[in-house]
């Protein structure tokens, strides 16, 4: 709880620091603050502390996810030091909004009441609507923000209506109680409850960009400032899935059959659409948007193969995925700068020639995303498949595996560009700090893959 409060305060402090017009102190403050939050979160480990009439429960699940999101945010801020130096205005707001969003994310991982879930989602989303439009003069940023906002609100409307329906039937917002209420039907839910649950699920599915509710994500990812995209692709996704899992686990399990089937359909569609559409992308950010949809599919697979270890796999997968994605976006920014702002995949050409070490670690990160040993990405996918196959979902597993091949294809498309020689690039400038973090993330991905296959939860 103290962590939650501290982050809120941190956001406000950062806003005030913005008044001093001294940009250089912002990141140190933000990062220090986050480190303190990290420690505060960890202090609650194993306590299962409950707040607000049990509407919020900080159990190990939520702490683990919170810590993973804090770490990712710290990495993003570390990169931000360099990134925001070039920005003139509103840097403090950028930091503050991200911190606020993080607060929302904390709520999403620790709710046990639908009200808190709603609040969490909204606290996460509203700063993001603003962040996505961060480049005020840019049409694309504008469009991203607008689309995100419109579709997000639209989804929220359904989400709310769903909550209302479920509330009408069960007279409660508490997930454990809803679970008890649902159990009495033995799977034959009345249509109203069913539709209510479906709307709730769709509301959350929208946030994590699961097909067919993914339409916003490619456009928003592409249009938003890259660092924000990195944040959306990682922290928001992690929070979304944590919330999703918590929702299912605390409230809905065992899943009513029609709902479960609907979710399987979503999984399949995400795998299909995400991977296949990514295949033909030439814009790096869009590629990552679609691949994020695909990864959503894999995570859904783990989530739906209900097993004790699902949560752990979920955490591992999202963390590892984030750990590889963030540095890649940064590398993309750096390369983009060197090629007059182009965003195609071809700008990676010649990277190996110019910066061999960065290229090698980029490769490692991409390999991890593609899910090839010995990287953590592989271990994550492996565990997902172990789960789904152990639970007997053979057909969807083999489909997912084939889709993983497609995934390898487009990630290695980028790899191939990296090692293709070309000389129309300006020099790529990589600050020591950035290089250090990129390399560190690369090493972390490998180390996680070889020595750590499970994060404590």
């Amino acid at each position: 709880m103290s962590a939650l409060i501290f982050t809120t305060v941190l956001g406000i402090i950062l806003l005030y620091l913005g008044l001093t017009k001294n940009k250089t102190i912002l990141s140190p403050v933000a990062i220090t603050g986050l480190l303190i939050t990290l420690i505060l979160s960890l202090k609650d480990w194993g306590l299962d502390s409950k707040y607000f009439h049990d509407m919020i429960i900080f159990d190990n699940f939520s702490i683990a996810f919170n810590v993973s999101m804090i770490i990712i945010t710290i990495i993003i801020f570390l990169f931000g030091i360099d990134y925001y130096q070039r920005m003139e205005l509103h840097v403090a707001e950028q930091y503050a909004l991200m911190i606020f969003a993080l607060t929302g994310a904390f709520l999403m991982t620790s709710f046990s009441n639908l009200i808190m879930l709603f609040l969490g989602i909204e606290i996460l989303s509203i700063p993001l609507y603003i962040l996505a439009g961060g480049k005020k003069a840019s049409f694309r940023s504008n469009e991203a923000s607008f689309k995100y906002f419109m579709l997000g609100s639209f989804a929220t409307a359904f989400f709310l209506f769903g909550i209302a329906l479920v509330y009408g039937a069960s007279a409660t917002f508490y997930l454990p109680e809803i679970k008890i209420y649902l159990a009495q039907f033995h799977g034959n839910l009345p249509p109203m409850v069913m539709i209510g649950l479906l709307f709730i699920v769709i509301g959350v599915a929208f946030k994590v960009a699961v097909a067919p509710f993914h339409f916003w994500s490619p456009d928003v990812y592409e249009g938003a400032p890259t660092l924000v995209t990195a944040f959306m692709a990682t922290v928001v996704k992690t929070a979304g899935f944590a919330a999703f899992y918590r929702l299912l686990c605390m409230g809905l399990l065992p899943l009513p059959v029609p709902l479960e089937k609907a979710l399987w359909v979503m999984t399949g569609l995400s795998l299909l659409i995400g991977n296949l559409a990514a295949l033909r992308q030439t814009n790096f950010k869009r590629l990552f948007a679609y691949s994020a949809i695909a990864h959503s599919g894999f995570i859904m697979l783990a989530m739906l193969s209900q097993h004790d270890t699902s949560a752990s796999v979920l955490l591992y997968y999202t963390f590892v995925y984030s750990l590889a994605t963030v540095p890649l976006f940064i590398i993309f920014i750096l390369v983009k700068r060197a090629s007059n702002g182009l965003e195609t995949l071809y700008i990676f050409q010649g990277l190996y020639k110019k910066k061999p070490w960065i290229a090698v670690f980029t490769t490692i990160l991409l390999v991890s995303l593609a899910g090839i040993p010995p990287t953590a990405g592989f271990m994550a996918k492996y565990q997902v498949f172990v789960l789904s196959i152990s639970q007997g979902y053979l057909a969807i597993s083999i489909f997912a595996i084939l889709m993983a091949v497609v995934g390898v294809y487009y990630y290695f498309f980028v790899v191939r560009e990296i090692y293709t020689e070309s000389d129309h690039l300006h020099p790529i400038v990589v600050s020591k700090l950035n290089a250090g973090i990129i390399i560190l993330c690369g090493i972390a991905v490998v180390v996680l893959g070889i020595f750590v296959w499970k994060l404590p939860i």
């Binding site: 009200i115 709603f118 609040l119 909204e122 509203i126 609507y129 603003i130 439009g133 005020k136 003069a137 049409f139 694309r140 504008n142 469009e143 991203a144 923000s145 607008f146 689309k147 906002f149 419109m150 609100s153 639209f154 929220t156 409307a157 709310l160 209506f161 909550i163 209302a164 329906l165 509330y167 009408g168 007279a171 409660t172 917002f173 490619p218 456009d219 592409e222 249009g223 869009r286």
Partner: protein, 109 residues
Amino acid sequence: MKEISSAIQIIPLDSYIMLSVALFSIGLMGVLFRRNIIAVLMCLELMFNSANLLLTAFSSYHSDPAGQVFVFFIMIVAAAEVAVGLSIVVMMKRNVESVDINLLNRLKW
């Protein structure tokens, strides 16, 4: 409080549900078919409020205040959301000189 509650319960619950669904659908249709962003925002608001209405009615019938508390949360969040939304619209108007929802469609495929 009791009187309000009983006053609410004069009308059967089904009618509330019907009304909310109708409101929701109207909002939905509005969102789908209007192209003026302001109108669309208003329709969104309508959808939110249909949920609010539903929650209130249920809360009253269940004699459970939680539903009404939620309504307040929703109203606050909706306000914040609309504030952000309107600012986005302003930004957009400034950039493209229009409030047509389909005008911004450069990001695709």
